[in-house]
Each structure stands twice: as C-alpha cells, then as structure tokens.
Amino acid sequence: MKKLLVFLLAAAMTLCVLPAGARAVQPTVTVYNWGQYISDGSDDYIDVNAAFEEATGIKVNYVTYDSNETLHTKLATGGVSIDVIIPSDYMIAQLIAEGMLEKLDFANIPNYQYIDEAYKNTDYDPDNAYSVPYTWGTTGIIYNTKYVDEADVGSWDLLWNSKYAGKILMFDNPRDAFAVGELLLGYNINETNEDALRAVTYKLIEQKPLVQAYVMDQIYDKMIREEAWIAPYYAGDYLMMLEDNEDLAFCFPDEGFNLFIDAMCIPTCCEHKDLAEAYINFLCDPEICGENLEYLGYSAPEEAAKAYMDEEIASDPIAYPDEETLAGGQAFIYLEAEVTQLMSSLWLEVKTEGGVELAPIIGVCATFAAIGAVIVITGARRRRRVKTRCAKWKT
C-alpha cells in the first residue's frame, strides 16, 4: 500500500516535469496591458494574440493590470521582465522622466506610417521616440436608463446624487477620481495647488457614503447585471457593455471630461526588444487595428483602420465624437513626484476615511479587558490554591 503510494507520487511528478521541459523553446514576448483591452476571439471577433502567433511564430505571454498606477508599481518594484506595456499619456510622461522606457527603433515598425498626424508629437512624447498610439478615448458617465431619471443626467453631480445611494460606482485610481472632482468643482484636471486638491479630497469623501464600490475592471459585471446603475468610465468600455445590456446609456458631462491616448511602449526591463517591436508593428497594421478596435469600442488613431470597421461603429458619435463635443475634453499631463505623492496620500485618505466608529474600539477594549481579568483571576486563584495546599502539608 505504501509502496503503491510512493510509486504513484513518483509517476505523477515525472509526468509533471516532462512537459515543463518542452515548454521553454519557442520565442515569447511578454505583453502587459489593461484588462479587457484586446480582442481575444470572443463573439467571433478577431483573436489578435492568436493572429500574431500565426503570422510570426512568436508566442504571446499576455498579462493584465487595471490601472496606470499598478503598472508603474510593477515596473518600479522591479524583478520582472516585460516587453510591451500600454500606459496612458501622463504615465508615459512619468516613465520617460524616470528613465524607464526604451527608445523605439522605428525601422522595425514600418506600420507607424498609418498613425494619424493628430496623434504624433504629443505633449507626453514630443519627439515620438518612445511610444506608438494604440487607442484614444474619452471618459463620461454610463448609466442605466431603466433606473436613472433622464432629468438627473448631464453633469458630474449625478455621481453625488443621494437618490441613487449605493448604486453608484467610482474610479479606483487617484487621477481619474480626482479629475471627476476637479471638473465638478471647476478646477483644471492637472491641478497642483494643495488647497485645491484638499477641496477635491473633501468632495470625494462627501461622495463616499453613496458609493457602492471603487472599481476598475469589475465594473463590467456590476453594470451588466444591474447591481449598480451609475458609473464614470471610458467610452469604449461603454460600447462593449452595451452589447450585453441594451438599457445602458452614455453621457458627456457638461463640465468637461478627460481625453486620453493610450500608447504602446517598451520598458527598460524588457528581454526581447526586437520581438516587442514586431508586436507593436503588428498592432499598427490597419486591418488588425480596425478589427481589434471594432471589438473594443475605443477610438482608432488610424484613419486607414476605419476601412476595416463596420460602418456603424466607424461613425458612432460616442466613439468618434464631433469637434464640438471634443472641445470639452482635457488631457492629463505629468505631475511632479511631490504632487503625485500628495495625490497618492490624499487618495488613501479618501479610501480609508470612515469616520470614528465607536463599536470596534469599545469591542476591542472590552475583549482585552475581559481576557486580562480572566488571567488575573485564574492566577490569583492558583496562587491561593497552592498556598492552602502547602499550608495543609506543613501541619
């Protein structure tokens, strides 16, 4: 019986080791991207990673993150090797300032010619040395028309409307959350003044009791299942959610919104720069870009890609708003380390703010007092018992 067990164990282990050995040979590129940010073959859309593997024979190791800050932490903590990342504009500026990006060799990225002029020579990468645009988009408010009164819609203050308490979601990263507050209070979304930031913090803390949860990718499940009814998020994700729940609607708030570009870069911790550039080049191919963004709902930075998209999507006013609407959009710029730290700690204040709850304090003190009392009493009782026992022996 024992011998049988040992044999089974050994067999199981050998079986496990064998495939592990065969794994290592194929060239692999590690891509670190936002969640739900590439067409992966569902609903009969193109599977970009599979298409890449077929076209080039390079395997894709695809990992996701849910915010720019998580990406930055992963790179800053070190110890990982990632070949391609797709951060947002302000984060690219920060990474360039911190020297964490590799300059791109555009000889390996011929498809760069298809990128529209409007998305080159940007504020965050003025020399076009480090990044290639992947998508651009806007933020706004997604709401469920079944439960939300149309009259309440139009401004960012819908997120502070106590009528929908407990059904409101909020961004779970400092910049997007602060931007909402800043737009509502009339500040610039790149505000650096400490008093202004504290005012925004206070406004966000005001909102906290009404918020169901601070989410990023989890928003899909919550809005589609109608667990929540109102959420600020990105236009492209709205279009994806619309396919699963037709009662959802999108609104560009009056005070303005955030206009962003997400671009592909190569971090300094990469292992295969040439493979990374091949991947970036593949994603810029108009056909791939068109089919990918048709699924994603985000906006393509390539006019040529629109030829490969469905007519309806290529002219969707949410994905490609007209000039007038776009005028309300503001882009993030990189804030210096001190301001970023301040925002980080203010954001932590918002997340941990809970008021002073008496119940836990009383409960904990009472428990420790009770335990202390029991220890003291049993100790005293034991000593008394020993004394009486010893006294009995003495007589």
């Binding site: 932490t73 906290k208 949860a213 932590l348 997340k351 029991v374 220890i375």
Partner: protein
C-alpha cells in the same frame, strides 16, 4: 546520536528567507520613501490608521468567537464518534473545502448575497423585498467565518480526540453530571486546541484583503487592504512595510497574551 547537523540546512534556509526578509521590512519601515533617509514618519503616521486597525481587530475577534461557537460542537461530535470510518470521512469532508480555491468560494458567496444575487432573486420572486446582504461588516464577518471555520475545527478535533476517555468515565463515576463533565474535564483539556484554533482563525482574519474587497464595500476597508494597495497600486513600500510591522507586532502580542492561558507546555504552539 549526534544529529544536530541534520537541522543545519533548515536553519540556513529560515535565516535567509524568514529572518532576513523581516529585517528588510524593518529597514523599509524606518526609511523615507523618496529620499531613503532614516525616519520615524512612517510609524508616526500610524495614528491615521488607528480606526482601521481597530476595525480589523474587532471583526477578527467577532469572527473567532463565531467560529469557536460553531466549530466546537462539530469538532466534539466528530471526535467522539464511535465508528472510526465515519469519523475519518467526516474529518475529510471538513478538510475538503480548503482544497478548493478560496477565491472562487468567496465569489460564490458574493453571487449569493448580492442585490441581484441568488438569495435576493429568490426573495423578490417570493414577494418579499430584497435585503441589503452584501457590502457591509456582517457580510465580511460571514466571509471570514466561512473561510476559516475548518481551521478552527481541525485543531479542536485533534485535541479532543486525544482526551483519555477514562478521565470522562472517572468523572462520571465520581458523581459529575453532563454539564460538570464538560466544564470541568473536557473544556480544560481541550484548551490547547481552542487556543490553537483561535490563533489559526485570528491571524488570517485580521490580515485578509480579498474578503473585505469582495464582500465588503468602501466602508469596510481593513488593514490588509491598505497594505495591499501600498504594494500593488500606490508605490509606497515604506508605508506598507510600516503597516506590516505594526500588524505583525499586534498579532504577536495577541498570541503571547493567549499563550498565558496555556501554562507550561508550549513546545507546540500550533497543534495540527
């Protein structure tokens, strides 16, 4: 039997991978995040998190108490079964959930408790209103109790199993009734198991972040959440290390306090 050298590789391993990392945590806790200079500011900032620490400890205490009340009868029942087969089978049944992914089990509870979840769906169909079951402290405690109940049952079971039946018989012979047998014989003898169980529930309960994230809401942030965010979203390992240090010291203090209850034999702090 000169076999001390057998333990040498283990000692080296522990020194490298347990003692030194703790030293690194200490180092980060006492340095400033931007400049790297020695500072007590991280620790001084702990007062802002006092509320969260209190809440984490309180919820963990409640979870321990509930686990003890629920787990003791179960452990007692299984340990005092006469049929050894059923006993072993029930023991494995209790252990089995621990092998299934803790994440998925928690998510299943979220699906059950959500406003649009299974229980509320049923309630609505029956004509009763939907109850706010999720996203509050009670849901988080429920999650903790559910996930850590086996950790309470197993040490209790192991200890109660070892209690000499003859002691119980002797007590009964000397005239003790059922309640007295329980309070004066079985309970004191199972004390090491109780302490073991409380420790094994308290430690994960106080430091969990997944349960509070999934089953709680923005108002139930626990200390584990804050530490996790400092290492994953916001890059401030110094603050995270300081919080970890305080958490660790708190846990050690609680365990030392509890060990005062079991006098003498503390060779094995945890009985498995």
């Amino acid at each position: 039997m000169k076999r001390n050298h057998l333990a040498a590789p283990y000692i080296v391993w522990m020194a490298l991978f347990t003692v030194i990392p703790l030293g690194i945590v200490l180092y980060y806790a006492f340095t400033d995040s931007i400049t790297g200079a020695f500072t007590l500011a991280n620790l001084a900032g702990m007062s802002t998190y006092a509320g969260i620490f209190m809440k984490s400890v309180w919820l963990a205490i409640i979870a321990c108490a509930i686990c003890l009340v629920l787990g003791y009868p179960v452990a007692y029942f299984i340990a005092t079964l006469d049929n050894k087969l059923t006993q072993r089978f029930l023991y494995m049944l209790v252990m089995l959930p621990m092998c299934i992914s803790f994440l998925l089990r928690t998510l299943a509870w979220v699906a059950l408790l959500d406003d649009t979840g299974i229980i509320n769906d049923g309630l609505v169909k029956l004509g009763l209103g939907a109850l706010p079951l999720a996203r509050n402290n009670a849901a988080v405690v429920l999650g903790m109790v559910y996930n850590y109940l086996p950790y309470m049952i197993l040490p209790l079971y192991t200890v109660i199993l070892k209690i000499d039946r003859r002691l119980v018989e002797a007590a009964e012979d000397l005239g003790a009734n059922g309640t007295q047998v329980f309070t004066k014989v079985i309970m004191p003898l199972s004390l090491p198991g109780i302490i073991s169980g409380i420790t094994m529930v308290f430690v994960p309960a106080i430091s969990t972040f997944y349960i509070s994230q999934k089953m709680g809401s923005s108002g139930t942030t626990l200390i584990g959440d804050v530490i996790e965010s400092q290492f994953k979203a916001a890059y401030n390992p110094n603050l995270g290390a300081a919080l970890s240090l305080v958490l660790m010291l708190m846990v050690f203090a609680c365990i030392a306090l509890m060990n005062k209850f079991s006098d003498g034999d503390d060779e094995e702090v945890i009985t498995l």
